[in-house]
């Protein structure tokens, strides 16, 4: 395997008595497209939220580009309540806020599209550039950062052209059709100049044709921006088509991992999905 970009190590996320993610271990290698799948409520989005700093895990650590960015161990009341493993392995508390994680080089999209509704397409992407801006508030207000601003605008325009949204750049973001909104959310994440792109159900609610387009699109941007992609998805076509490797979660636990072919034939995976009608 190539050098890994993301490593999740013994992560357990427990809400009160409910264990949402149970001792999760996974790795995403540089340049890979890795999928995280599992039935509804398996803890996929929770895992994403732990990785991106939205939740602080109850126990475990997350490494990004060889650096430990998140770490925690059960504390306070949780000490008694804790049901997971490896409780004693971690001593440090590292809890970056999501914005910090993003600035480290990780950007995500959301399961339920979260665009900035009052902004235009262009501004949605431009705002994501803010985290890369170096100007302070004075130089920004008094336009001393003109150069930087101009470069940003140019980059955004380029980016919009790449993702095929340049023609609607001045439309309000919410006026776009659903598929384009998804695309815009990805473009916005790209504007934050990530190394690792996390996509939370990018094809949710899309028809087969849109899904196909999206599959091609993800591959395209991976190559163009030299990205690593980690995604959650229910559309098996998409997953099987583009993933290099797949992790399968059920009830918070990792039940299988491997390349698409292996996963497709894995007994546990089939069991986990049995009875759950997926539209794949």
């Amino acid at each position: 395997m190539k050098e890994n970009v993301l490593k999740v190590e013994n992560v357990t996320m427990q809400f009160g008595g409910v264990v949402a993610v149970d001792n999760l271990n996974l790795e995403v290698g540089k340049g890979e497209i890795v999928a995280l799948i599992g039935p509804n409520g398996a803890g996929k989005t929770t895992a994403f939220n732990v990785i991106t700093g939205v939740y602080q895990p109850t126990n475990g650590a997350v490494w990004f580009q060889g650096e430990k960015i998140v770490e925690n161990h059960p504390q306070g009341k949780m000490k008694q309540q804790y049901k997971g493993e490896h409780a004693g392995d971690y001593a440090q508390v590292l809890a970056p806020t999501p914005d910090k994680v993003t600035r480290l080089g990780m950007a995500r999209t959301f399961q339920n599209i979260r665009l900035w509704k009052s902004q235009t397409v262009f501004d949605n992407v431009l705002i994501a550039k803010h985290c890369r801006a170096t100007s302070n508030v004075f130089s920004a207000a008094f336009r001393l950062n003109r150069k930087e601003e101009a470069v940003q605008r140019e980059n955004v325009l380029e980016l919009l052209e790449t993702v095929g949204l340049a023609d609607v750049k001045d439309e309000p973001a919410t006026s776009l059709p659903y598929g384009k909104q998804r695309r815009l959310e990805i473009a916005r994440a790209l504007a934050a100049e990530p190394k690792l792109l996390l996509l939370d159900e990018p094809a949710a609610g899309m028809n087969p044709q849109e899904t196909e387009e999206l599959t091609a699109f993800i591959g395209e941007i991976r190559d163009r921006f030299h990205l690593t992609v980690f995604l959650i998805e229910h559309h098996m076509n998409l997953v099987m088509n583009i993933s290099d490797r797949i992790y399968v979660l059920d009830f918070g636990k990792l039940i299988a991992q491997g390349d698409p072919a292996a996963i497709q034939n894995d007994k546990r995976v089939i069991d986990a999905y049995l009875g759950v009608s997926e539209d794949a």
Binding site: F15, N49, V54, F110
Partner: protein, 291 residues
């Protein structure tokens, strides 16, 4: 010693009166997530109505009439100023509440001509009695008892009736409750009716103690009662009552000390500390944001 008792007495009675207002705040907030800024002014209007009604009617008729009219006022305010904004952002509703408060105050100024009005004496509770050597009004003793009775009745209503169940459901999850066929608007109206009723009762007790009413009379007790509601954990009725007594007594104690100018500042400082340390108040439920 006498002094300490007198402070405690006035604190307890004040706390009881705040509690009656605070319940209105806390119930409305629990259901609509709205700080009903006009609630304190409804309380003031109830007092004014009493003044004007007793001028022409016997007391036995005017007290029930005041209760009914206040309830009606609360109901109308909700229908006119909050219901149209049900789908609007929370800020709009809050601003509407501020607007209603402004309107009620200005209306009161207009009607009274800006002159302070004297609350009528209510036989029985206006009389002076002596407790442990401290002269005080009967109302001081009646208040906490009445508050307890009303709160018990209210808890019974909320836990053992259909309306109460609907109210709890709406407070828990507005949308789902609606989907389950609960008539949201009816529930909200009931909430406002109960809140206004308690405010009216509170106003009778409060103004019997502090007899002069000006258009701004409701603002400060209203704000303090709201702080009490937050302090106790907004949405929780026992919380509001406990919070109100704590606020009432501490206010009374501070006013009796040499720091009296900071009595309001203290109330708010307490609020801020509570919000920062335990944002959900003493009895509030924890809410987590969903991403």
């Amino acid at each position: 010693m006498q002094y300490a008792i007198s402070i405690l007495l006035s604190g307890v009675s004040l706390g009881g009166q705040y509690a009656l207002i605070a319940i209105g705040y806390t119930m409305v907030y629990g259901i609509l997530r709205l700080i009903n800024f006009a609630h304190g002014d409804v309380f003031m209007v109830a007092g004014l109505m009493m003044v004007y009604l007793t001028a022409s009617l016997p007391l036995a008729a005017s007290i029930p009439l005041v209760l009914v009219l206040t309830v009606l006022l609360g109901f109308i305010i909700e229908r006119a100023a909050y219901k149209p904004l049900r789908e609007a952002p929370r800020m709009s509703v809050m601003i509407s509440a501020i607007g209603v408060s402004y309107l009620l105050q200005n209306l009161a100024t207009y009607v009274t001509g800006g002159l302070p009005k004297m609350y009528p004496e209510i036989p029985g509770i206006s009389n002076t009695i002596t407790i442990a050597g401290v002269p005080t009004k009967v109302v001081t003793v009646v208040t906490p008892v009445l508050v307890l009775v009303l709160v018990l009745a209210l808890t019974q209503l909320i836990h053992h009736t259909k309306v109460g169940m609907a109210m709890r459901a709406v407070a828990k999850d507005f949308e789902t409750a609606q989907l389950m066929g609960i008539k949201i608007n009816a529930v909200i109206s009931v909430t406002f009716i109960i809140g206004s009723f308690l405010a009216a009762v509170g106003s009778v007790l409060y103004f019997t103690n502090y007899q002069s009413i000006v258009p701004l009379s409701g603002a400060l007790p209203g704000l303090r009662a709201f702080v009490a509601a937050v302090f106790g954990g907004i949405g929780s009725i026992p919380g509001a009552v406990v919070g109100a007594f704590i606020i009432g007594i501490s206010e009374s104690v501070i006013k009796g000390s040499s720091w009296s100018i900071f009595s309001d500042a203290f109330t708010f400082a307490l609020l801020i500390i509570i919000l920062v340390v335990k944002p959900t108040g003493l009895f509030g439920e924890k809410v987590t944001d969903k991403v």
